[in-house]
């Protein structure tokens, strides 16, 4: 599948969506799962846009693939090393008054996707999120 690349900013979001969602639909992802994929992509890209390059110019790539019965997106940036999956999860059991704002995006990413994985490969952050193509989990 073709690789999408652009500068990480909010203007890129609809372009990424227009690139990835049709690929996912073609790959056979359940239409009911498309909003989840959409949400996961947006949360990841907002993170990259806000944090990866610390105000410097940069780029990111989105690479989609089907493997092991899953539709997978690899989001790659060349910013400072950052493993979002290693950050502590927000305590969603606390009262709203005590709840820190933030951390929710990555919780949504890990919960809404079926599988996610982070790797630092050379100078790149690579976050892969996968969605099962067959919903037989009950």
């Amino acid at each position: 599948m073709p690789v999408f690349d652009a500068t990480p900013d909010l203007a890129s979001l609809p372009l990424v969506r227009d690139h990835v969602l049709p690929l996912a639909a073609d790959a056979g992802l359940d239409p009911a799962a498309l909003p989840r994929l959409d949400l996961v992509l947006e949360e990841i890209l907002v993170n990259v846009a806000n944090h990866a390059y610390g105000g410097r110019q940069g780029t990111f790539e989105v690479e989609c693939a089907v493997r092991d019965g899953q539709f997978c997106c690899l989001i790659r940036d060349w910013g400072a090393p950052f493993d979002p999956l290693a950050a502590p999860a927000p305590d969603t059991g606390t009262t709203m008054e005590q709840r820190p704002v933030g951390g929710l995006g990555i919780l949504l990413v890990t919960t809404m996707s079926d599988h996610c994985r982070y790797a630092r490969t050379g100078e790149a952050n690579e976050l892969t999120v996968c969605f099962a193509l067959r919903h037989d989990t009950g």
Binding site: L39, M96, E97, L104, L107, M112
Partner: protein
Amino acid sequence: MTESKENGITILTVNGNLDAEGTQALEEKVLALLDAGETSLLFDFTGLDYINSSGLRILVLAYQRLKKASGKVAICGVRDYIQEVFEVSGYDKIFPLFRDRAGAVGSM
């Protein structure tokens, strides 16, 4: 997004996708209402297809501000996908969720 009033409750009806652009418009609207002294806010999400963590933050903002002012905030009409987002974030336990607008207005 449309605004209406019933029984002293300000109802914000949000349709379609609450993406980056829509989120900003909603935040401005909510802040303006809170600054104007509104104390009862109902979000009608019957026609809402999509919300992300930025959208959820606006709900938190409204909740925290209204709590201090002894106000109320509730949400009605959430669809399956939005319900899932609420459950993941734990917000289903914090916000009063109503099936429809009539039920919400009657209970607030």
